[in-house]
Subunit: 244 residues, 2 copies
């Protein structure tokens, strides 16, 4: 007796050309035909459960990853065990750029919630980038923007006080969420206080206290990881205010 053929409909492969993230992700600015060719090399997805790593420091670098759904953090490790969160990545953002230079990953990328990524084999991406200019531009743009982002974090770490850091962090998050169609005032943090602290160069207690202070001042409503921004302008004023 034949087992019944599975009825499960094979989901239509979500190609770049029909992906709802294409305005945020690598395909931005590509023509229809370019995008179709890009679809050709991006034919693999990976699912990463919350708490699992997409890649780790030292692993061989083969591909970039575009976040389709979910949320990641990246960390560098110091020799002595100290850890620094270098970024949080959400839908449409790329992971793995750090690995290009040495053919090895230099950060750990860990999913903070169940996530899915598109695998972009880097050799094929480079090959394609030689063939059509728009992809080459976009790749360069993305790398350059990552450098600019890092400079912003350096400014934050090098010269802001705790309140300013947290304000800048929250504004950045809400802006990115807004670009993805979410509310600019309601957000659910995917990361712990400790992870926020590591990113901002603060201890978790300081992060917690600063959240409480913002709540006391009526700038935020904080219910654990559920944050409501009541006074976005107050946050904005904090990040653009003189150091004292």
């Amino acid at each position: 007796m034949l087992s019944p053929t599975p009825i499960r409909v094979e989901p239509l492969r979500t190609a770049c050309s029909s992906c709802n993230l294409r305005e945020l992700c690598l395909p931005l600015g590509l023509s229809e035909s370019d995008m179709t060719r890009l679809d050709g090399v991006i034919n693999q997805r990976r699912t990463v459960a919350r708490g699992q790593t997409l890649f780790r420091v030292g692993e061989e670098f083969h591909a970039l990853y575009a976040v389709r759904t979910g949320f990641f953090k990246t960390c560098v490790n110091a020799e002595d065990g100290r850890v620094q969160v270098t970024g949080f990545q959400m839908a449409g953002e790329l992971l793995g750029l750090d690995g290009i230079g040495s053919h090895r990953h230099t950060v750990d990328a860990e999913a903070l919630e169940d996530s899915q990524v598109c695998v972009l084999p880097f050799d094929e991406l480079e090959h394609l980038a030689r063939e059509f200019t728009a992809l080459q531009h976009q790749l360069h743009r993305i790398m350059s923007r990552e450098i600019v982002r890092d400079h912003g974090v350096m400014l934050l770490l090098g010269s802001m006080r705790a309140e300013e850091r947290l304000a800048a962090f929250l504004l950045n998050l809400t802006q990115r969420l807004q670009a993805r169609g979410y509310s600019a005032s309601e957000l659910v943090l995917r990361m712990t206080r400790e992870e926020i602290g590591s990113y901002l160069g603060l201890k978790l207690e300081t992060v917690s206290r600063t959240f409480s202070r913002f709540q006391d001042e009526g700038i935020l409503e904080v219910k654990q990881r559920q944050i409501t921004v009541l006074e976005p302008d107050a946050l904005q004023r904090l990040v653009s205010s003189a150091a004292c």
Copy 2:
């Protein structure tokens, strides 16, 4: 009466293919013939006097710059006037990667001593990168390494104490100088205490005090900007020691 034609010998154009920095700079890994083609697009130098800027935030981005001689710093400016030094660049290193993403420079690049740079028009570089793989790879490698470097600075700013930061800074400098044929133990700082402080997220007084402490401990000899590293291992131990 004709003024005498100037006898000034036109100096032989130093091409990438015959540049003594080619093992540190963009041409690394290119074949003879590739390098000759690269020479074709790199036909302009700029001299930047000490204290002058090579480019400033907001200026249109046209080219990358490779430092031939001299020394630069790059700074980002916060809205409120705060400044953060994001890097120091020496011979063979590239300036301007930050501008690719937005077609505008996002940092100021200022010469800390009389300097000369090679102008690498970016359009032509991209064009060439589409034609030969080695250049494409090298460009990606350089951008990726800049990202990795930035992550290192984040780690430093986010989780190291003053002594560790200064030790890491000095080790980094001596390593880069050594790669350029200079002594690993004798160095002349091109930047002020304030600029070091800005880079390391410290105030100039703290930098000065930390130098003094290193001197008291016999790790360094400090005569203003003239530094002698007496105990490189002690510095190394500082950067790789646990936070406490």
